[in-house]
Amino acid sequence: MAHLLFGFASPEALQEAARRLRVERLGAVETYTPVPLTGGGSWIPWLILAAGMLGATGAFLLQSVATVWSDPLNVGGRPDFSWPAFMPMALESGLLCGVVAGVIGFLVAARLPMPYRPVDEAETFRRASRDLFFVALRSGNAAALAHARALLHDLRPAVIEEVAA
């Protein structure tokens, strides 16, 4: 197995390169870019929504159960089920659960933490967080890799590097 990395100076070139590699089905393709290029298609917002709803209803239920059933107390003559007063905590709980779920969801979805990846071995790869737009092809097939080099030649990659995987 090996990774073949192409670094481009412009995102347009990268996008074209990635498209070509994918169309050819040469192996697993992944991009690494200094700025986000892709967007949308994430399921995490739905997770956040669900967690938020759950956090809010959970908090609301907790308060209701505690004051109505578990430990009813006469506080200032107010009714046990003073639902308007339960809203603030429900809201905060919902928001907090959303944030926490979002961060956790992201870690899971992005498979983080992942301190090591084979592409790290590439000397030039660090420019992925600076100015170069990388596309990495992962394949065990030397022919496929060679084909890829040829395929992307016209896009003038700034760097090409191959590392073992």
Binding site: P118, D120, E123
Partner: protein, 217 residues
Amino acid sequence: MAAIFTPGANLAAKLVLIGGVAAGAGGLGWWWLWPRTNYARRVGFPVEQPVPFSHEHHVAGLGIDCRFCHAAVESSAAAGLPPTYTCMTCHSQVWTNAAVLAPVRQSFARHRPIAWQRVTDLPDYVYFHHAIHIAKGVGCEECHGRIDRMALTAKARPMTMGFCLDCHRDPGPRLRPRAAVTEMGWRRGPATPPAQALLAAYHIGARRLTDCSICHR
């Protein structure tokens, strides 16, 4: 050598993350569980006393009633411990020279009280009242367990607030006929009046027994 980390770091990072979460959860769990353990509540741990007094012997063996020694239990908040004089009603006749009884004899002779260590100990801010419980048919056993089986006295119930509240929310099933209050090992029999009847007979229900003012002041 461009990579900063080795492949092993991936596993390590995940383990650290999961371990951290697990440790946090475990800590919380422990924090929740600890006050409920018998160890923390001292349930079943005998307390060292100046005289190794055995309820097993005196109650189960000799058949002495609780009220013989804890005379105030029916009329006062505190049950009270027997004055040395009570011990000496017998121990001036039996076991007169036993070494273990030396503190009792000394107390009697020097007129200094025996300092018994508390076994059942509520915090100062909790006000318990024996007489009312006895009057309403709550057996000693309910809170002190099988005293008659204790060679050395130990706490038998956790005595947490939750313990008190469990009964105060619904005392009925734990009530006994008045005569059986000091009886150890008592069981509901066919002749025992049902909980509702006992509640009614004792006129329980007029109070909200879960009010803080019942126990705290």
